[in-house]
Amino acid sequence: MSDQAPGVGELIYTRVFDAPRELVFRCMIEPEHLTHFWGPAGVSTPLENIKVDPRPGGIFETVMVNDADGSQYPMRAVYAEVAEPERLVWTEPGTGMTTTSTFSDLGGGRTEVRIHQVNVPEAFRSPEAQAGFATSLDRFAAYLAALPGD
């Protein structure tokens, strides 16, 4: 998966955690862990709606619930690769977006998680957009944000 053609529209996020790689990896595939962190701030992910079948072709589904108004945000994905504890790849059939999580052991009980998303979103697939999005969309967002306001 790592040699997938670049330039479609990529987002990359990394974070280092003070925890062994095996544990961090398990957090990403076990509902009992996912329910604690999968939703962003102000959004819960009830345990009963998390479905995880960590093998190629297996499902990864969650329903995030907005704590303020109860709005629901379902996510439906299918695992493409499950290589414990190094790599996890899933694709969201609805959008075609593929998310690759890479877990690197930094030693000393620290783990770096790198999230790499491609095909964001499906509509970026015009040849012109593909050519232009070889660079990270994340940096592009920073660039947009840095533009002076009105």
């Binding site: 398990r26 999968w38 701030a41």
Partner: protein, 123 residues
């Protein structure tokens, strides 16, 4: 989605991004825009048409100067989509970090052991 698509496509070009950056500082005529880019007027005009078509810029009909104006809402919509996704992962990672601290450091009140070393059976 079509509008957002067109916006991203337009911004995929580095010259057009530079034009947008220039217009973020204030309105400018085609001549003013062409100067720093070392481009012909027709070349700049072509880029401006793409930016205009997706709604990123507008041009007043006033006289022959027709200054270009950046439409910030269109830019904000594009930046917003990326930013929302970025924020989701940032907050998710914040929570994951807190969760990892919880399960590694403090045995829970009900006596459940830390899962840091031994791990938990997969279901």
């Amino acid at each position: 989605m079509d509008q957002l698509d067109a916006t991203f496509t337009a911004l995929a070009d580095p010259t057009r991004r530079a034009i947008v950056a220039r217009l973020a500082e204030g309105d400018a005529t085609v001549n003013e825009l062409a100067a720093p880019f070392d481009m012909t007027l027709p070349g700049i005009s072509k880029h401006l048409k793409v930016l205009e078509r997706c709604g990123l810029i507008s041009r007043t009909r006033r006289a022959q100067f027709r200054p270009c104006h950046l439409e910030r809402q269109a830019l904000d919509a594009a930046a917003g989509w990326i930013e929302e996704n970025r924020r989701t992962w940032a907050q998710r990672f914040d929570k994951l970090g807190a969760h990892l601290r919880d399960i590694q450091q403090a045995p829970s009140p009900d006596g459940t052991a830390s899962q840091g070393k031994e791990g938990q059976a997969r279901e």
